[in-house]
């Protein structure tokens, strides 16, 4: 039941946070304890992160999951399709 658009929004959120924090794929993968291959595929919109992956990324970025999921693109999309 994949949703192309939701996937892009969430994966872009990760890229955006990486850019904001000046983190490379390798650095974030290492710091969050996930594989760099997997993270590479996420930022290239090939695979979508599970909630575990998102949690690990949040821990590396020092934000809560609540904060991770609180951004305009996602809110707008949810409202748009509701």
């Amino acid at each position: 039941m994949r949703n192309e658009k939701l996937g892009k929004i969430i994966c872009k959120r990760i890229s955006d946070l990486m850019r904001q924090n000046n983190l490379s794929v390798e650095q974030l993968a290492y710091q969050s304890g996930i594989s760099k291959g997997g993270l590479s595929e996420i930022v290239r919109y090939k695979k979508d992160p599970s909630n575990y992956t998102i949690l690990n990324i949040c821990l590396a970025l020092n934000i809560t999951m609540t904060e991770f999921f609180d951004f305009d693109e996602l809110n707008n999309y949810t409202k748009e399709i509701s």
Copy 2:
């Protein structure tokens, strides 16, 4: 890279919302367009929902994903392990 505790927190969030909205497994499954078998396994902590599944549940409950992920148990857990 499953995380038993995160899984429970998120699955419980769904059960809690179901209780608050007086929705049965069958009703929420139907309204959100996901399989009732899958939802059953989620509320029984056997499987964890993907972000697509969560989005569909949010749409049925008329909340945003931001709202879905904004609850104390999750925030406390994130802070606890960070």
